[in-house]
Amino acid sequence: MNNDLDCHPATEMINKYVQGSLPTGWNVVLSAHLELCQKCRQEYGDLESAEVLSWSEGPVEEVANDFSDLVANIIQHPQQSAADIPLSQESSITEIHMLDHSFTLPRVLAKAANDGLEWKKLAGGINQAKVNIDTETQCEFIYMSPGSQTPMHRHQGNEITLVLDGSFSDSSGTYEAADFIIRNNNDEHQPVSEEGCLCFAVLDSPLTFTQGLARLFNPINRFKFRKTIARQS
């Protein structure tokens, strides 16, 4: 894990995750990070306890309405016993195979990848597999082959990248497994990976390439993003 840079979600973001107020794609990448990062899992636990406390101190008035009809209706339903609960379904994809090894996905990502991953080769040794999670974000697995380099690009909105395996570097530093990196439209960067790197990325708007021929792809890129969103909705 990168110790020089703060590669963890901000407290405010974890708090929104606790409350359930983030778009699903962001929830998914946070959930995956928490599974890989004990420090943030601890913070999540503390924030959740605080949230539960403030929630339970919320409206204190007991509702005076007569809910007997509603209650009478609910208690018609059978209760579950431990034996009724199926063991959590095995996802069909639980790991991703790379050149010489495989990586076991965090649980939520295994579930998200369950329908199968369709890898597409992009320029510069980058491979991308999109995952259809929600209509507000674009989620994808990115595999950077050893020695790969993405074109210099700038972000229009926010992008969260979670490093799952391997490492990549840009002008700010090197990122390793479990690192949680947020980029916004002030950042322009050109990630490279020497040893290869598997990431999960969530974008809330398309990238804009700022260098060389890749710039030509900008309109198409935006169009593709819109198309993805349209297909999902």
Partner: protein, 211 residues
């Protein structure tokens, strides 16, 4: 585990240690599950419906959806009440989790989002599963991944207090019965069971996922 001291016995013991204050949320929830008490459930309904409604308004800003959430969440509280015991934390946090998760799934359904991930995948709680650390099937079954899981658990074990580590090692790793383990560690059986329960609860919290 070839053990007569089945984990399920532990969880029913935990239940009999239920809180003594008959007006506490925990007591009411255990009552709702143990004896399908509509009276206890009614009390919980009175106490929590306005809190759940407030959560719904905060997340959906829609009165009808918030009312639906109260009904949906309280139905889940009723249906799952038998799965609650004190090892799972306070009644408040248990009901909070149910309400937040149901709200999330309701909204996703409403927005016609793909159903590839649900709230229970995103916030891994063990609301649904039994109280044992590993699913029963994993203990008896011939799952190849069990070895890997055991080693993950062993690494988390090191974060527990020494006495809890020791009982977990005896029971879950060396596969001793509770009686044997108590004798080896020279502690009373009751102490062993309570350390085991605390240790397992802590482990579940550390791991944060269903294994």
């Amino acid at each position: 585990m070839p053990d007569t001291d089945h984990p399920a016995v532990d969880s029913s013991n935990a239940r009999s240690l239920a809180p003594v204050d008959p007006d506490s949320d925990e007591y009411l929830l255990v009552e709702t599950g143990n004896s399908q008490s509509s009276k206890a459930f009614n009390r919980l309904f009175q106490r929590y419906s306005s809190k759940i409604y407030a959560m719904g308004m905060k997340l959906t800003r829609n009165e009808q959806l918030s009312k639906d959430l109260v009904q949906e969440a309280m139905l889940n509280v009723w249906r799952k009440a038998r799965l609650y015991d004190l090892d799972r934390g306070t009644a408040q946090s248990w009901i909070f989790t149910i309400a937040r998760n149901r709200c999330f799934d309701m909204l996703r359904k409403l927005k016609r989002q793909p159903n590839c991930v649900t709230a229970d995948d995103i916030w891994p709680q063990d609301n649904g599963s039994e109280s044992a650390l590993l699913p029963e099937g994993a203990l008896h079954g011939e799952q190849g991944s069990l070895v890997a899981e055991a080693s993950i658990i062993a690494s988390y074990c090191k974060q527990l207090p020494e006495p809890q580590q020791a009982v977990i090692e005896q029971v879950y790793i060396l596969d001793r019965t509770h009686d044997e383990a108590a004798e080896i560690l020279k502690i009373p059986l009751g102490t062993l069971k309570s350390r085991l329960r605390l240790g397992v609860a802590k482990l579940r919290q550390l791991i944060g996922i269903d294994l």
